[in-house]
């Protein structure tokens, strides 16, 4: 019950915001911020109660929703989704704090942000295909509005492209879900869309797994932006307002990787192992391609967007390493990327608010004028490069270690990626921060205001905290990763799948234990 309250708190807040009169700008901003921060603090309570020993779902709530079709409102958190959940609430709070500078329609903007937050949180907690798909589509709408209304010049094009691209991908996923729904009924005999139950009970032969894997893979590959499907990301980022970019980079991209972990791996283990070389190939191409293209960007936000394509290539590589180090590295890098790229977008947003331009050529020699900003930007650049001592390194090291164990070729090329990462980030940093001031406007830049500092400081603390002492974060993953590995590898060793003996047991029994296993 607590989890549901937490997830829908922002939505309730958004509705409450509607009643505040339009011209009371400050009141709107304060309440929106208050709601977001409250949501974040309460979500910390989740971390406190989280029991790291079991891989089962926790804080679950299973209420039948549409009896006839077997759809139930089944929510819960486990190792994989807990920290993503808390990061979402944190980034939403920071994004709202960072968007105090928005001038037009501030009320609608705050409402869209809060609605978006609920959509995202819903995706991470939903354990029912129908519910998952509903939240998956729901969170597209506020994002579309944020890019479409408050964006840059080509915002309509970017917003439509973003929406269509993701929607098309998820349609295929819907087809797959429906197919599973009926296949499950045919083989096991009951209509249900409960993910946990289906993952335990369903048995698919290799061909079915392959097709379903591809369907889900496309939806998530577009979301992750893996190599061929990534062109919507730079446009969406360039046109989105700062807060939109932070949320887009920080959380929306993680849904793709979360999808792989929640659906592709456990549901279609044979296909995952089968498709491993192709996926890793795409991921590695993504890393090198993203890095190379990022090198040549003139627009700061586009550069950071392409760098996220490169970083997420790493994460997918880690996921498909199928061993403890790779998966742990991937999950940790999920967090790191959210923090680092979110911060980078905040910083870029700050200089955009002052100079109203994102072209690297316009800047130069800012280090002398705004020293505090330079230090923050430097820390974030280093974290993005993956310097030991920052969070980027721990994640990337574990991923590369993981993938090296079984696929040496991919590891070598991916490690090459970190050289390019250093190239484009440092070259960008030099052109923006160092050298002498060419443009007179740069002299008059004001340094970071206290509000802006409040958005950046928590992220910097997190960068060094994960960099030097990642234990409190990684211990929440261990149980779930162990569970995931058992799901993926043993079936692989037993060759073809032995028919589930439990298929004919009473399904109600299975449903009962799935529901009640989580301690409140």
């Amino acid at each position: 019950m607590f989890l549901t309250f937490l997830t829908f708190l922002p939505l309730i807040g958004a509705i409450f915001l509607a009643f505040i009169p339009k011209h009371e700008e400050d009141a709107i901003k304060q309440t929106a911020l208050a709601i977001a921060v409250a949501d974040f603090l309460l979500s910390l309570q989740l971390y406190a109660d989280f029991d790291t020993t079991t891989a089962a779902m926790q804080f679950t709530m299973d209420v039948p929703w549409i009896e006839a079709w077997g759809i139930s409102y089944h929510v819960g958190l486990d190792g994989i989704s807990l920290l993503l959940y808390i990061m979402t609430t944190m980034l939403t709070a920071i994004a709202i704090l960072a968007s105090f500078g928005i001038k037009k329609h501030i009320k609608e903007f705050m409402m869209a942000m809060l609605a978006l937050s609920t959509g995202m949180l819903g995706v991470f907690i939903s354990l029912d295909f129908f519910l998952f798909y509903m939240f998956w589509e729901f969170q597209l709408i506020p994002m579309y509005l944020i890019i479409g209304v408050w964006g840059g010049q080509r915002r309509i094009y970017a917003a439509v492209k973003f929406f269509l691209y993701t929607a098309v991908g998820s349609l295929l996923m819907l087809v797959a879900i429906i197919w599973i729904y009926f296949h499950f009924h045919k083989t096991v005999g009951v209509f249900t869309t409960d993910i946990m139950l289906i993952t335990q009970q369903i048995n698919l032969d290799m061909l079915q797994q392959k097709w379903l894997f591809c369907a889900f893979f496309l939806a998530f590959a577009i979301k992750v932006p893996m190599f061929p499907f990534h062109t919507w990301l730079p446009d969406a980022h360039v046109e989105a307002p700062t807060a939109g970019s932070v949320i887009l980079a920080g959380v929306l991209l993680k849904m793709g990787t979360y999808g792989f972990l929640r659906f592709n791996l456990p549901l279609f283990p044979l296909a995952s192992v089968e498709f491993l070389p192709y996926v890793c190939g795409l991921a590695v191409i993504g890393i090198i391609y993203g890095a190379l293209v990022a090198m040549m960007q003139e627009d700061l936000k586009k550069l950071v967007a392409y760098s996220s394509v490169s970083h997420l290539g790493f994460i997918v590589l880690g996921i498909f390493a199928f061993n403890h180090y790779g998966l742990q590295g991937a999950l940790l890098q999920n967090l790191n990327h959210g923090i680092t790229t979110g911060a980078l977008f905040l910083l870029v947003g700050m200089i955009y608010d002052r100079r109203h331009t994102r072209l690297i050529a316009e800047f130069g020699g800012l280090a002398k004028v705004i020293p505090v900003f330079t230090v923050c930007f430097m820390i974030m650049t280093l974290s993005s490069i993956g310097l030991p001592g920052t969070n980027g390194f721990v994640g990337e090291f574990l991923i590369l270690l993981g993938i090296f164990q079984n696929h040496m070729g991919f590891a070598i090329v991916a490690t090459g990626g970190i050289i390019f990462a250093a190239c484009y980030m440092l070259w960008m940093f030099q052109r923006v921060m160092f050298l002498e001031i060419k443009n007179p406007e740069n002299e008059k830049l004001t340094d970071m205001t206290p509000r802006e500092l409040c958005t950046i400081i928590p992220l910097i603390i997190l960068v060094f905290w994960i960099g030097f002492y990642p234990k409190p974060f990684t211990k929440t993953f261990d149980a779930s990763i162990q569970h995931l590995i058992t799901q993926v590898t043993p079936k692989d060793h037993q060759g073809s799948q032995e028919p589930h003996a439990s298929a004919n047991t009473d399904v109600k029994l299975a449903q009962a234990d799935a529901g009640s296993s989580g301690s409140h």
Partner: protein
């Protein structure tokens, strides 16, 4: 009583110093900044001394103490804790780093006093010391890697200290990226080691090396080769050395500390630390020796024709490190460390001397505009000459002992080619070092009038004196010939002990399991054949002194007796301007690597991304709108057309029935 729990203090002091200076530098004023900055290294030096003393009481045979502060990364069975190790090897390095480090800190107070962002310089310098100490004291590969990249980062900051200058920024970025290429190979080596040994702790890996790695097996060679490439990245050897000469853009004390004494020797330290692994891979050892010798010779030749005082010293550093790798290549690890220590002393002294000249001649670096500065810079002149004699390798000075030991081992353990490279390198070194001395201090004064050179203040000359003294007596650490007098050898023996015998037998057993029986008997036999006869060593020593003196004589002849000769000689020579422009290596790399990548990625972005992938996406959108345009044309508004369609439809239906 074990003082090992003091170990964490050594890196901690510079870290605290760097944080204080970094954040509160402007507020606490220059004097306090310099106090805080110097306190860090000096305190670390004191603690290192204590640890050094405590290591002597350490009982023989037992493993050296390690202090693990906290578990850093733990993923399943891969547990890495943030540990520091105190053993003779790391102590020697710590002594060098903190000792030379604190001297250079004191020196740079004087040198950098009039800089605006004074605090930023010291913050970076202290951070550098922190990372270097981490690199040296780490007890597993990962902590070493933190130091490894941290040191690369600080050198990026310090080279790019004058960030207004484009050349400085470019040099900084170039240094970081070339180091990063080295780190790429180092990372791969770490993954390989973890895959082979299952752990990254030095103690376990080095102990298990003979039994798990098969002698001269492909895995051993690959891992050690990757480690060596990492080392070349950091220590500026043949393939990845281009960043060091450009790194001279940074302030001179930085060059002294980073590009002479500490950072560039990190590669050597790493190779010596993993000596157990390298001993198992003779192919890599041969490569190391060849690269080392080659670099020594190659860099020395370039050094002869440089006109910037710091560039000459930079190339001489590359060449000297080449010697250290040559020593490692033939297995004489103690000789490499010995040369590392002595090199730290006299090279730091040379750089600081050059710094004081530049400081005195208000930032004039071109030696053609100097000359006859002997009387303007008395102390600098004396210390500079002492260090130059040391580097040339003349008898009582430290350089002679360490270089001669390397040459001796190169001949005995290696082969004549290595020795030949070494000795010709020594000759050229003596030549270009004394060319530098003669051109700056002796001969007619080409100093342009409004520059009036003056000796540097006490704060700068005192370090010079200390370093010169160390360069003088450094040789005592490793007196050859007499048994047991080689202090360093005895000190490092327990760490570098390696029993080839058992390693070969273990490899034979492992190969036997895989079914192909090879015997390493002749390898064993060849290793034990070299006897140690005194007379050969003495003759070698005399020969190398003679070579050094010949180098000095030729330099004297060229630059004092007939100053116009080099000018005339170099005019027409094709070879000369080839060497003058550093064999066009930089331009070659630019052309071969940098430009294609830049052009390729630009092509990748504009064509592949904007037109290719995006094209497909927009293409889909356009085709759909095309279809809708066609469909729209049917609605022509003419009633007759609609009738037509009706009739046509009706007729088709009729036909079909």
């Amino acid at each position: 009583m074990s003082f090992v729990n003091l170990a964490f203090l050594v890196p901690l002091f510079p870290l605290i110093g760097s944080i204080i200076n970094g954040f509160f530098g402007l507020k606490i004023g220059k004097d306090r900044v310099s106090w805080v900055a110097c306190a860090g290294p000096v305190l670390s030096f004191v603690v290192t001394l204590i640890l050094l003393v405590s290591i002597f009481f350490h009982p023989e045979g037992t493993p050296y103490p390690e202090q693990s502060l906290f578990t850093w990364i733990s993923a399943g069975d891969f547990v890495v804790d943030f540990g520091l190790q105190i053993d003779p090897l790391s102590l020697v390095m710590m002594m060098v780093v903190t000792g030379v480090g604190s001297i250079i800190h004191i020196y740079s107070i004087g040198y950098m006093y009039k800089e605006y962002s004074y605090y930023r310089y010291f913050a970076y310098l202290n951070l550098f010391l922190f990372s270097m100490l981490l690199l040296v004291m780490g007890n597993n590969f990962l902590v070493m890697f933190i130091g490894w990249e941290g040191v690369g980062l600080c050198s990026y900051f310090l080279i790019g200290y004058y960030f207004e200058k484009k050349s400085a920024c470019d040099a900084g970025v170039k240094a970081f990226i070339v180091n990063r290429i080295g780190d790429f190979a180092f990372l791969l080596a770490i993954f390989g080691i973890f895959k082979m040994f299952g752990t990254l702790d030095f103690s376990t890996v080095m102990a298990a090396a003979p039994t798990t790695l098969i002698y001269d097996s492909e895995a051993a060679t690959l891992i050690t080769l990757a480690l060596f490439i990492g080392a070349t990245g950091k220590s500026a050897q043949i393939p990845l050395y281009t960043w060091l000469p450009d790194a001279m853009e940074g302030p001179t004390p930085v060059s002294a500390l980073i590009h002479a004494a500490t950072m560039v020797t990190a590669g050597v330290y790493m190779v010596v630390r993993c000596s157990a692994l390298f001993n198992m891979a003779p192919l890599t050892m041969m490569i190391i020796a060849l690269v080392g010798g080659g670099t020594a010779l190659f860099a020395a030749t370039i050094g002869t024709c440089q006109y910037d005082i710091k560039r000459v010293l930079a190339y001489s550093t590359i060449s000297q490190i080449g010697y250290m790798f040559l020593a490692c290549g033939v297995g004489a690890y103690t000789a490499a460390i010995f040369h590392l220590v002595t090199h730290a002393f006299f090279k730091a002294c040379l750089f600081l001397g050059a710094g004081s000249i530049i400081h005195g001649m208000n930032n004039e670096q071109d030696i053609r505009k100097m000359g006859g500065l002997k009387d303007h810079f008395p102390i600098t002149y004396v210390t500079f000459v002492i260090s130059t004699i040391a580097i040339a390798g003349i008898f009582p000075f430290s350089g002679f002992f360490s270089k001669d030991e390397i040459l001796y081992h190169a001949l005995m353990d290696g082969n004549v080619i290595y020795w030949g490279m070494g000795i010709s390198g020594a000759f050229i070194t003596a030549f270009y070092m004394f060319r530098l001395v003669f051109m700056t201090f002796h001969g007619p004064s080409h100093v342009d009038p409004q520059v009036h050179p003056h000796e540097s203040p006490m704060a700068m000359t005192l370090p010079l004196i200390i370093l010169a003294f160390l360069a003088l007596i450094g040789g005592l650490l490793g007196i050859p010939l007499f048994h047991g007098w080689h202090l360093l050898h005895n000190f490092l023996a327990p760490v570098l002990a390696f029993d080839l015998e058992t390693a070969l037998h273990a490899s034979e057993r492992m190969l036997a399991e895989h079914g192909h029986h090879t015997s390493f008997a002749e390898v064993l036999h060849q290793a034990q054949r070299t006897s140690h006869n005194i007379w050969l060593e003495i003759t070698l020593m005399l020969f190398s002194i003679g070579v050094a003196l010949a180098g000095i004589a030729t330099a004297w002849f060229f630059y004092i007796k007939k100053p116009e000769l080099p000018g005339k000689l170099s005019k027409g020579q094709w070879g000369f301007d080839l060497v003058q422009n550093k064999y066009y290596i930089d331009e070659l790399i630019d052309e071969a690597l940098v430009k294609p990548i830049v052009k390729g990625s630009d092509l990748l972005w504009r064509q592949a991304d904007a037109r290719g992938v995006d094209g497909v996406v927009n293409g889909v959108a356009q085709t759909i709108s095309l279809f809708s345009k066609i469909a729209r044309s049917f609605q022509s508004g003419f009633v007759r057309n609609y009738a037509m369609f009706m009739v046509v439809g009706f007729i088709i239906l009729l036909i079909l029935i």
